[in-house]
Symmetry: C2
Subunit: 338 residues, 2 copies
């Protein structure tokens, strides 16, 4: 592959001049510029990003470590992150942690070794020593969706408390009193917050949330199934299951079907994170929708601010309730779904 030296030779100038042309430095004669450009064209020259990065100590690359690519919420987030990053002149390297802390650490380490300019993380756990070191070590970092208390970096996330309150009120209005939740891992902020918001909203309506109605999940479908099976085996099973993410809702649906029960007639179902498929499940699932595109954009901008020396802002955007048929009641008409 042609290098800058070859271009310089072809154009009959020094490598410095070639570099100046390529970086549109003002001090280059028109004559030299055209010669260099012609040589670049002739040789099909493309600058070596590796060499450039070594010299300039920047890669124009962002690392994005997400907890689970198979979760449509994160896939969508990743897509918008890449879009915004591209608009700002950055590339994105995605690391998929599969909700496994050690895999998360592997990706963080690999990204740091590649000297990415900044890191966008949705932590799968409460924070490894590595993550703390990286944050303290000066690598620009921003948390998105989930964050880690005690690590002082900007956080871009959605606040679901108001939407959860709306959901609980909706359920209460439909006559449901025994509400259960499948929580995410306690080590994640979203795992805790959603339970707390749920409990708080129930308390506001004079309802209790017994421990037996709190299932422990890990944001994966299988855990949603297990938790739901446990609910259904109770002497007094809940009337509603609220899954803290979409994959666990899928698992819950499995478990309910396996028991031969119907949603919403026998039991109602709702989920955190809205995804296109929820419109088409049987029945369409009531969910809490996050402003994914806005979150992605805000996160990338905060990270770019950090990298480029501006002051980044933490951002919290509201999530909102999308009522469909899975909890019964009014929104029974399919047509109104979309």
């Amino acid at each position: 592959m042609a290098s800058i030296k070859d271009v310089a030779a072809e154009a009959g100038v020094s490598v410095a001049t070639v570099s100046r042309v390529l970086n549109s430095h003002p001090s280059v004669s028109e004559e030299a510029r055209t010669r260099v450009l012609a040589a670049v064209e002739a040789l099909g020259y493309r600058p070596n990003a590796v060499a450039r990065s070594l010299r300039t100590a920047q890669t124009r690359t962002l690392g994005l470590v997400i907890s689970d690519v198979l979760n449509p919420y994160f896939t969508e987030l990743a897509r918008f992150v890449e879009e915004e990053a591209r608009a700002l002149g950055y590339s994105v390297i995605i690391g998929n942690a599969d909700e496994r802390p050690e895999l998360q650490d592997h990706h963080i380490r690999t990204l740091i070794d590649r000297r990415i300019d900044g890191l966008l993380v949705s932590p799968a756990d409460g924070g490894s020593p590595l993550m703390r070191d990286v944050a303290l070590g000066g690598t620009p970092m921003v948390f998105v969706d989930r964050w880690i208390p005690g690590i002082d970096v900007p956080v871009v996330r959605a606040d679901g408390t108001s939407a959860v309150k709306d959901l609980v009120a909706h359920l209460h209005g439909l006559g449901h009193r025994r509400l259960a939740i499948i929580a995410g891992p306690a080590a994640t902020t979203t795992g805790n917050e959603r339970v707390e918001a749920f409990r708080e909203a129930m308390r506001g309506l004079g309802l209790a949330l017994p421990d037996a109605y709190i299932g422990q999940g890990d944001f994966q479908a299988a855990s949603g199934r297990r938790a739901t099976e446990r609910f259904l085996a109770l002497a007094e099973p809940p009337e509603v299951v609220f899954a803290a993410d979409n994959l666990m809702a899928l698992g819950a649906l499995d478990a309910i079907r396996a028991r031969g029960l119907r949603v919403p007639d026998d039991i109602a179902l709702a989920a955190f994170d809205d995804i296109p498929w929820f419109v088409h499940t049987d029945p369409p699932i009531t969910a809490i929708a996050q402003p994914t595109a806005d979150l992605a954009r805000a996160a990338v901008r905060a990270l770019a601010d950090l990298i480029e020396g501006r002051t980044p802002q933490s951002v919290t955007l509201p999530a909102r309730l999308v009522v469909r048929r899975s909890c019964g009641g009014a929104a029974t008409n399919q047509r109104s779904d979309r």
Copy 2:
């Protein structure tokens, strides 16, 4: 961030020795080795992958350019690709083309500029000049899922002809005669092959595939909706719609619902590419499943073979029919789905 020089100074040896220790070169005294390792530990040293890549002319990185991350089939593929690549000591950088050729070219260019060791591509079109140049230019390259005729690189893909035949036989057995297909872009191999397999299978049963029953889609949901609306507006609408990918099936479902029709009673639906959500849609959707994990592994191995100087193999694996309820008939019992 500490460099190899700092480690050398701390350990009281030369950088050459540090490098030897790090690359487990045999010619290093035990004494020196422990000193270097201690210094590495003390400084928290991590080798700079950028510098290493510049020197060794390899990045231990694979580029994966897929047509659409939001399509669960590709997401899954990407996940398994990363998994296998990691097992072989490579990282993966994903480029999402969003089914847009110019975006695909952007990512290919960026990946080449970063000097990735090899490229895995599922082309969104018939092949840009850039793609040809890259293939001819000696960058190791493997096509996965889709390929481009005339570009001589290994291809790893699923063969759906037999499964499509099974599907058509299944539909025929259920009494359906008017079968329609929503095709993918003509510029993609999967776009064409699936139509051809469908047409061929129908011919085998003495059925014709009129042009009006071939909808032109682009593998995105919206195009599936449009094509289906056109089918439903025909004087004699089809009894079955077969979508060439899962997103177009989603769009078809939308269109059918919007008309107030029911699946499978009013019209049957089937799709290429099986995904977990199809179990939970209303009704569960009959689909043709690809062996995604095996495809991903085979593709990565072929690429690694190419990179490391071994002889790569093109691989074709059979897809298989998964019957659910969306075409009516026997498989009506939900329990049997899983």
